[in-house]
Amino acid sequence: MKEFALIFRLNDMKDFQPSPEQMQERMNWLGSIAAQNKLADKGNTLLPIPGSAKTVKPDHVVTDGPYTEIKEFISGYIVVRTETIDEAVEIAKANPIFKIGGSIEVREVLKRD
């Protein structure tokens, strides 16, 4: 079994706060992965809002948030456990994020230990 991080990206800050219906859809997606025993880590949400997001650059230049230069921002991640990357991609395809123009990056996890 391999592990893959699914990294969620959104385009629009207003999509960050989901409606109760959107929340249910997300939880159904997550619950479905867990029900297949393929959830390695339920991950976390990464707050993109002012005061919760900074970028540190060379020469100690600190800017607010990651979203000043690029439009897209990372909103969170989870880690799934599958045999192949294709299987991880299939899982990603079922996520409701595509309804609101978001995207998911699938990356194999190389464990440090």
């Binding site: 249910q24 939880m27 619950g31 025993n37």
Partner: protein, 402 residues
């Protein structure tokens, strides 16, 4: 009985306590068969046990003084003790906490507690843990050895120890209750006793400020909700009646109310408690309510959270059933097939159920595989009846030529 004896000797002599307890019962069965059951069987049993203990220590001190020629450690103490109800109830709980010692892994702690305190057989423990009996046997052996090596003595634990052991104790009581509730045995009396014993011990935990925590209340709420359906869950023949077919007038309203009370306590003013007991109590709560438009959506969301905390095939299947109730059987079939639990009879039962309206042929196929996998005669019977119904329906819709 083993519990009371252990409290007296310390866990070091656990095996002797177990032996004495079984010898006592053996003697009882011999004597009572001839002379009939005495007026006070409990007192009779404890008197015999007491004498056997005295014999044991007499032999031990002879052995220690004469053969090992050094005075036995315990020779001064008077091996006399009371076997009254109060001490037993406290002993039981104290022993569960004692056995839940960090000297062993959590799994072993629970195995040990279930065996010594709850009288579970190795098979029953293996069943509760969904593993092989040999694994459990080895685990128990190792756990007992490490407790003995620790020169374990049952003493009152301090505050920190009690708090840190509470999780394992709750898990033990949860398994004890479940064994009663879902047990394979058809003896309803035994099942009820296991359930009420678990409730009694959990109730004791709420009476102690150290263990009176939101998770304890959540577990108690769960037990109350489940217990409210004990009468309705079985017909007089001891066969399990499925939820949808239960006579709701048999549900115990006062237990449901007590469940509500403990569930409210379990939130502790903040809704942030999300232990497995909170989620399961929440699910059980929604099951006791009459059909509410959003009932199954609530249940599905609770299952989503529960499966994130702890994967189990049963939770996965129950979640899919709730999914079917919200989004319909067609979507649920896709969800169910992803689970790929082909060796599990509940998996085939669920798929059989989901296919029964749209594809009776596939439904029958799954029900037949479930029959091949289940050990329960009652279940086989129920499934066979269902297959007959579907076969008739199929023939009615597509009459075969000739």
């Amino acid at each position: 009985m083993t519990v009371v004896l252990c409290r007296h000797f310390g866990l070091k002599h656990m095996e002797i306590a177990e032996d004495i307890a079984s010898e006592t019962f053996l003697k009882a069965s011999e004597n009572w068969a001839i002379g009939g059951v005495p007026e006070n069987p409990t007192a009779w049993l404890y008197t015999v046990a007491k004498n056997k203990i005295k014999d044991y220590f007499k032999n031990l001190s002879v052995f220690e003084t004469k053969i090992k020629s050094k005075p036995p450690e315990n020779s001064q103490s008077e091996h006399d003790f009371e076997f009254n109800n109060q001490l037993i109830s406290d002993s039981q709980l104290a022993m569960i906490f004692a056995v839940c010692s960090p000297a062993n892994s959590t799994g072993s702690q629970i195995c040990l507690a279930l065996q010594i305190l709850c009288g579970f057989s190795v098979e029953e423990i293996a069943n509760a843990f969904l593993t092989k009996p040999e694994t459990i046997k080895k685990r128990l052996q190792r756990a007992k050895t490490s407790l003995r090596n620790d020169n374990f003595q049952l003493q009152s634990l301090n505050e920190t120890q009690i708090k840190s052991r509470l999780d394992t104790v709750l898990k033990t009581l949860y398994l004890l209750f479940n064994e009663g509730y879902f047990s394979k045995t058809n003896n309803q009396q035994i099942r009820k006793e296991l359930c009420s014993e678990a409730v009694r011990l959990t109730l004791l935990l709420t009476e102690n400020p150290l263990t009176n925590t939101p998770p304890t209340h959540a577990l108690l709420a769960l037990m109350c909700f489940q217990s409210s359906r004990l009468e309705a869950r079985m017909n007089p023949k001891g066969e399990v009646i499925l939820f949808n077919d239960q006579d709701r007038s048999l549900w115990d309203k006062s237990l449901i109310e007590r469940g509500n009370y403990y569930l409210v306590n379990a939130t502790d003013g903040s809704a942030n408690w999300r232990t497995k007991y909170h989620l399961e109590a929440g699910i059980a709560y929604w099951h006791t309510t009459p059909t509410d438009a959003n009932k199954w959506q609530h249940i599905l969301q609770l299952y989503n959270q529960l499966i994130l905390i702890e994967y189990s095939p049963i939770t996965a299947l129950n979640r899919t059933f709730a999914f079917a109730k919200v989004y319909g059987n067609k979507k649920a079939i896709a969800e169910a097939e992803k689970l790929n639990l082909t060796g599990n009879h509940y998996y085939h039962e669920l798929l059989g159920y989901l296919y029964s309206d749209t594809n009776p042929l596939k439904a029958i196929e799954h029900y037949q595989r479930a029959i091949g996998l289940t050990k329960s005669a009652t279940e086989k019977q129920t499934l066979t009846t269902e297959i007959e119904r579907l076969t008739q329906k199929k023939n009615h819709e597509h009459p075969s030529p000739g």
